[in-house]
């Protein structure tokens, strides 16, 4: 099966976005200047490109496309669960990032001061990314 260009682009860019998220959190964790420009770039890119990709795929999948109609139910539920989890992870990233930026201006280190919240967020983010990559692999590579 040939891989659609946008699917391949999204699968690869998700890894780059994850690198950006980890960079932002690590900078704050190690008490270095909050990289607001990188945070904003990652948030906007993820919002406008990858969420758009996911929503587009969702529309196609639900519009009875020939390819999506042949998908097993388990795969469809996996798509939907991944979509919601990705949205939740993205939402939390933007909220925590803005709070970290504000805290930095007061000389505080938001992520460092909240290790439980930080690690929980990172786990959710990684589950969201790994589930997306697994779906991509099952759909196009297996």
């Amino acid at each position: 099966m040939s891989i659609p260009a946008f699917s391949l682009f999204s699968a690869i860019s998700e890894l780059l976005v994850t690198a950006g998220v980890l960079f932002v959190v690590r900078r704050n964790w190690t008490r270095r200047h909050f990289p607001f420009a990188i945070f904003l770039s990652v948030a906007l890119f993820e919002g406008l490109v990858n969420v758009m990709y996911m929503a587009g795929r969702a529309s196609e999948a639900s519009a009875a496309h020939a390819a999506s109609a042949a998908l097993p139910v388990g795969m469809k539920i996996g798509f939907a669960a991944h979509g919601l989890l990705s949205l939740f992870a993205y939402l939390v990233f933007v909220v925590l990032g803005t709070l970290a930026h504000q805290a930095q201006e007061q000389g505080r280190w938001f992520f460092r001061e909240r290790p439980a919240l930080t690690w929980s967020f990172l786990v959710v983010w990684m589950v969201s990314i790994v589930s997306g990559e697994v779906i991509f692999a099952l759909r196009y590579l297996v």
Partner: protein
């Protein structure tokens, strides 16, 4: 001793129009997420009637709230809470406007007794904007509330020093 005057923010957060916006937003967003999941997983759109009606009511209530909100906070200031609020407002406007033709198609299909055929890019745009609304409304609100909490803490310290 007279009771302390209510915090202006707390009073605004309890205003009837904002409570109506929050309620309609909650109903429309929950319904939208249910539909998003069900369309993908099962090809169904449960509760779409509630989603459409709450979305239409939200459009009217939000437009009134947003206008009053802008009149209160104008002019524009280059601050994080303003930027997040602007992104949230644009996303909300686009989510509601892209929802209108989808709602129209749903209504026409319902009247004609045929399945609805939603334009793919319009449905995708509606989904993306809705997700951005959830994200940036939350970020805007948390930013403002966190700033208020910080100011209260600073005022408390200042009062304690005196």
């Amino acid at each position: 001793m007279s009771p302390a005057p209510p915090n202006p923010r707390a009073r605004r957060l309890r205003a009837p129009l904002l409570l109506a916006v929050w309620t309609l937003f909650g109903v429309a967003a929950t319904g939208g997420l249910v539909i998003f999941f069900a369309r993908l997983a099962a090809g169904t759109t449960p509760g779409i009637e509630i989603h459409v009606v709450s979305g239409l009511a939200l459009l009217a209530a939000w437009a009134a709230y947003q206008w009053a909100h802008w009149l209160r906070i104008a002019p524009w200031r280059p601050r994080l809470d303003y930027t997040l609020g602007l992104v949230a407002a644009i996303s909300m406007g686009l989510a509601l406007l892209t929802g209108l033709p989808l709602a129209l198609e749903w209504w026409q299909a319902r009247e004609a007794g045929r399945p609805a055929h939603y334009v793919s890019w319009l449905s995708g745009a509606h989904n993306v904007m809705s997700m951005l609304v959830l994200t940036f409304v939350a970020a805007h609100l948390f930013t403002v509330l966190e700033r208020d909490a910080r100011r209260r803490a600073e005022n408390g310290k200042g009062a304690a020093k005196q």
